[in-house]
């Protein structure tokens, strides 16, 4: 079970559900816009209220594209000029989306920082006009209101949001290596207070409507409606509009106050914040936290702090200027490019390029109620798929069912679901010890022990009971699928579905197809994965597929580094400071030393000396001594229940003494150790593309970042090669090759890129 616990920045990226900046290709019209009817923004005057409706005809979401902005300005001018209009309501006609953010293409089209800065300044000006509007504007929010959309909304005089689950507000720019560049860094601190504003902008998290109301981000909430004389979504938007119109009139009539009476806590907070000393302390604390979490590898959070500080300490002019300049600078950083690339890749990997399967999976059976099996059950059963969880023993099954319950119960504590919903979801889970009911299953996922003989045994048992259309998926992390399928009487229905542990947190799903796997089987597996909320890469078959295979050489190198006398703590520090969310030693403990040993041995046999480096005996000895990682309480570190800090496992020293290697001074600087680890990872990834295991560099990047924790700021191995330079990487590898041999021999595709600088994996 090659599982990785990705934390920090990665998990924040992973947890986003809505686009901040959407790269939708909005068509540009060659005809002069004044000649044409407006397509994105329209308005209608209802009595004395102008209802401004936004609807991008070319996309599922509204973005602040050039076209949208131009039409919005025109409409606003008309509204302001119309004497019959006393107030305005701003609303989206799209169900589930107010404005999802600025148009990413608009920023990417800029060639230099000055252009981006100007873009930011135009946005600032537009929203300033909205903020100073003589006629009150009510933003009626239903659906995602993110990034530029939120900045637009908070420059309006009043905000009403629906309580729909789809309604989320937030400033996710930081996750793309940017900052809210249209006044957000200036308005938010004043609106929700400095601490909350930092929290929003530095984490980029989505805020639900009820929380937004508590924070003071919106003024009123409206319930979403059920079926009526029209469809629920359509009627909800209408209702929101009706309510917003009422409020707009109320504001004009001075019946509805624009500012809320501040609570005692709020007053107290404002009072404390009025002292520069306190504010300085906050900047310091926040900066410290950011540095600790980001290791200084991500420039955006620091620029956000800088922009907020400029506005609060030196006044609005300096603030807006700092914001636009910082925005310009950030947009052209490699970090932002990498993060945007990841975002776009994620969007690609959330689509089913294999089409709609012939029959949707309605019943899914899982074999093995271990950590993996139960994890898969948890992410399946709450999507309304009937789930059968089968184990061989009662205690095993009970543990698995408890894990599913616990996972759902945590959600009730976080109030994302009610206890009633939890119970109702759990009613869709059947735990059992036999194969009864398997004839109704549309797909069976096995998560039994990683042993080809056991896999063959269950495959045969399952095929005896399932119906002809049922798909058999193996959740193996390294065994080639074709070897498993060898025992099948219907190999076209056999596929690999490699989940990552913990399944409910890790977003990646690696789907492995053999030459015999039918297209419909693949389509069905991808459809199930998407339903489970996964980001999916589909790769070819082979030992270790893609993810495990990339991890192999890196772990081999890590063992060698340990043998050379670098301690686990130092190893972790070196990798995390390179941008890995989890240090390599910790990672090995999380995955399990036994699993690592197993995989290293298997892959070593399959790929030969390229996978060498550290001595596999080191891992084997650790396993023999019971140092299997976190699960056994001891691995590279010692884990104690209830203790947050972990100490290095001192008993490891004896093993390392036994297998001690003398470090070679020319390739053992901190930086060299880092590149030794990373270059082997990257080379293997490129080789996977070369060999056709990978379908595209995009999938390679997504798999490495979301499955293995490759530094998000580098955007994945392929983007790293592009930005770092293939030639430079090859040069480093040649130096290591001179010392260690073929472990570091660059693959042909990498050499091709090194020889021709115009070759890039990402255009």
């Amino acid at each position: 079970m090659a599982g990785v616990r990705a934390l920090g920045v990665l998990s924040r990226i992973a947890s986003r559900r809505y686009p901040a900046l959407t790269g939708s290709s909005s068509r540009t019209f060659s005809v002069a816009s004044t000649m044409m009817a407006r397509t994105h923004v329209n308005y209608e005057v209802k009595g004395d209220v102008a209802v401004i409706r936004m609807n991008d005809p070319n996309s599922k979401v509204n973005t602040l594209s050039v076209q949208m902005q131009r039409e919005m300005s025109e409409v606003m001018e008309e509204v302001w000029a119309n004497t019959a209009v006393g107030s305005a309501v701003l609303i989206s006609s799209k169900p589930g989306c107010f404005i999802a953010g600025a148009d990413i293409n608009m920023i990417q089209a800029c060639t230099n920082t000055e252009e981006v800065t100007r873009l930011s300044q135009e946005g600032q000006k537009m929203f300033e006009k909205i903020e100073k509007s003589p006629k009150p504007i009510v933003a009626a929010i239903n659906g995602s209101c993110l990034g530029g959309g939120l900045e637009f909304a908070i420059s309006c005089q009043y905000r009403i949001a629906t309580k729909s689950k789809k309604t989320v507000l937030g400033t996710p720019e930081v996750m793309l290596g940017l900052l809210p560049g249209a006044g957000g860094t200036q308005r938010l601190p004043k609106m929700v207070g400095i601490p909350s504003a930092f929290d929003m902008m530095l984490t980029g998290r989505n805020i639900r409507a009820d929380k937004a109301k508590k924070m003071g981000l919106v003024h009123q909430l409206v319930d979403p409606l059920g079926p009526g004389l029209k469809g629920p979504e359509e009627r909800t938007i209408e209702y929101l509009e009706e309510v917003a119109i009422e409020f707009a009139r109320g504001i004009v009539a001075k019946k509805i106050p624009l500012t809320k009476e501040k609570g005692t806590m709020q007053k107290l907070q404002d009072y404390v914040m009025s002292y520069p000393v306190v504010r300085n302390q906050i900047y310091k604390t926040v900066t410290g936290k950011v540095m600790k979490q980001s290791k200084g590898l991500y420039p955006a959070p620091l620029k956000i702090i800088d922009s907020v500080k400029a506005g609060l300490e030196q006044g609005p002019d300096a603030g807006y200027l700092a914001e636009s300049q910082n925005f310009g600078q950030l947009a052209k950083t490699t970090e932002s490019e990498a993060l945007i690339g990841l975002y776009q890749g994620q969007v690609i990997c959330k689509k089913n390029r294999f089409g709609t399967p012939a029959r949707p999976v309605k019943t899914l059976a899982i074999l093995g109620a271990g950590l993996m099996g139960a994890g898969v059950a948890q992410v399946t059963v709450d999507k309304g798929i009937h789930t059968i969880l089968k184990d061989t023993t009662v205690p095993g099954l009970a543990r698995g069912e408890q894990q599913v319950y616990k996972g759902l119960n945590t959600k009730t504590k976080k109030r994302t679901i009610t206890t009633f919903e939890r119970d109702s979801i759990l009613s869709g889970l059947t735990g059992q010890l036999d194969y009864s009911g398997f004839e109704k299953a549309d797909m069976v996922i096995e998560a039994v022990f990683e042993d080809i003989n056991i896999k063959h045994k269950v495959l045969k048992e399952v095929e005896a009971v399932i119906s002809p259309h049922c798909i058999f998926a193996s959740n193996t992390s390294a065994l080639p699928i074709k070897d498993i399928a060898a025992a099948s009487i219907r190999p076209d229905k056999v596929i690999g579905m490699h989940y990552f542990s913990p399944v409910d947190k890790m977003q990646l799903l690696e789907i492995i197809t053999t030459e015999q796997t039918s297209a419909d089987t693949t389509a069905a597996a991808v459809a199930v994965g998407l339903k489970q909320g996964k980001v999916i890469i589909v790769v070819g078959d082979g030992p270790g597929f893609y993810t495990t295979r990339c991890l192999g050489p890196m772990l081999g190198e890590a063992v060698r580094v340990l043998q050379e006398g670098v301690g686990p703590k130092k190893l972790d520090q070196l990798t995390t400071s390179f941008g890995f969310p989890v240090g390599t030693a910790t990672l090995a403990d999380e995955v399990g030393i036994d699993v690592a040993a197993h995989v290293a041995e298997d892959l070593g046999k399959a790929f030969g000396s390229r996978f060498g480096g550290g001595n596999v005996e080191v891992l084997k000895t650790m396993v023999d001594l019971g140092f299997k990682g976190r699960k056994s309480g001891k691995g590279c570190y010692v884990y104690q229940e209830g203790l947050k800090t972990k100490e290095v496992n001192r008993e490891l020293d004896d093993i390392m003494d036994k297998y001690k290697l003398t470090p070679h001074p020319s390739v053992s600087s901190d930086s060299d150790v880092q590149y030794r680890l990373v270059s082997r990872f990257v080379n293997e990834a490129v080789l996977c593309l070369q060999e056709g295991i990978l379908n595209s560099p995009v999938e390679g990047d997504i798999g490495a970042v979301f499955g293995l924790g490759f530094p998000p700021c580098l955007g994945g191995p392929f983007r790293f090669v592009d930005s770092f330079g293939a030639d430079k990487l090859v040069q480093k590898m040649r130096a290591y090759e001179a010392v260690y041999g073929d472990h570091f021999t660059p693959c042909q595709l990498l050499l091709d890129h090194a020889n021709d600088p115009s070759k890039k994996f990402h255009k």
Partner: protein, 489 residues
Amino acid sequence: MALHWNLIAPTLNVITVPLPAKAVVRELLSVTTMLATKSKKSLSRPGVKNIVLVEGVRTPFLLSGTTYVSSLLHEGLLNKTALPKDAVDYIIYGTVIQEVKTSNIAREAALGAGFSDKTPSHTVTMACISSNQAMTTGVGLIASGQCDTIVAGGVEFMSDVPIRHSRKMRKTMLSLNKAKTLGQRLSLIGGIRMAHLAPELPAVAEFSTAETMGHSADRLAAAFGVTRLEQDEFALRSHTLAKKAQDAGLLEDVISFKVPGRDIVSKDNGIRPSSMEQLAKLKAAFVKPHGTVTAANSSFLTDGASAVLIMSEEKALAMGYKPKAYLRDFVYVSQDPKDQLLLGPAYGTPKVLQRAGLTMADIDVFEFHEAFAGQIMANLKAMDSDWFAQTYMGRTSKVGAPPMEKFNLWGGSLSLGHPFGATGCRLVTTVAHRLRKEGGQYGLVAACAAGGQVSRDHAVCPSTGTVLMHCLIAEVHRAAVAQVVKEDD
């Protein structure tokens, strides 16, 4: 516990008052021929037992927290009925908020009212249609030949809902019982914190969705575009009609009830015809500030009890009773508890009509439970919408809205009040009375149920997590028609 059954007792006693029963059968025969020409054919089917409503009564419905509060010390009433006690085969009562001490309230009430201790009784619960359930359970018992004479009813006493200790406190108290040593007891007692002492009020929300009924009604009204004006107009209509009916003495199912230490109450006290201006002044009660459901256009928390006597026709006639109506057919339906919580009547009406082989045009009297004016209006709009019928009900076309000139003409739950458990019997009895007075043949009762209700002051919603709807078709009894015909002569 005295609280509940002292409300039921009078209804139980009155219900058994025998009617002048001379020569009923002869009279019946004389009108049969008239019936054949005057109206549509009867729903009587060969081989199916005719089940009749003999009598229906209720206590006055009173606003919670008014007169009944003082009836705490009431003792059982002596019964003065001429009906032999043992003639009643079975007693079924419906209630929503149950008192733990009298979980089978039907039995306690029956004993308290002096019924034979040999008469079995049980209590049913189904939110606002609990007494509907009591009646239909009775119908089932008669139809299956188990019983011939059933007393069914419902009671609600919102002035005194049980309030529980918090879960923590209950846990501590239960553990305290089991504690063996003084040390154990002390440590348990020592563990009591302020949080333990906070009482647990009856759930204010639907169990499955955590939404209060008023909220749900407001959203429903909005979903169907029911305006505040429409709701206020309907509420005013309900109060005005109720007042008229009360003044004209039409509410003859109400019996006087002596509250110990107070005067005799003989009238519903929630009827308050007001003006549109007055109603318009009220603020939204649930969805603030832009909602449309107000205290005035919602039904209020009510205390009250009701009962009906249901018999097989043979038995009723044999005992010399003059039945009021046949109870012909009924359905229960249920929907999604979130968005269609209060939409039961729209779903149930076409279904029960279909079962009975009738159309909307055949129905002469409609009695719908009015939980909220907005809810009633939404249901009427849903019934009148082809789109809704096709999209959500899988029908080819709408069933049509009942004509207002046949609809709740003697007021409804909005004005008379709505003791959750007791409303069903009131509706059925009213249909029977209206059929007779208005000379109709078929009546339709519809009520939706879920959790609870609204008050004029504050919302307390018992929670049950069901979304159900009950529709019942009643047909005027030949005897009742005969009576009218005779009066006309």
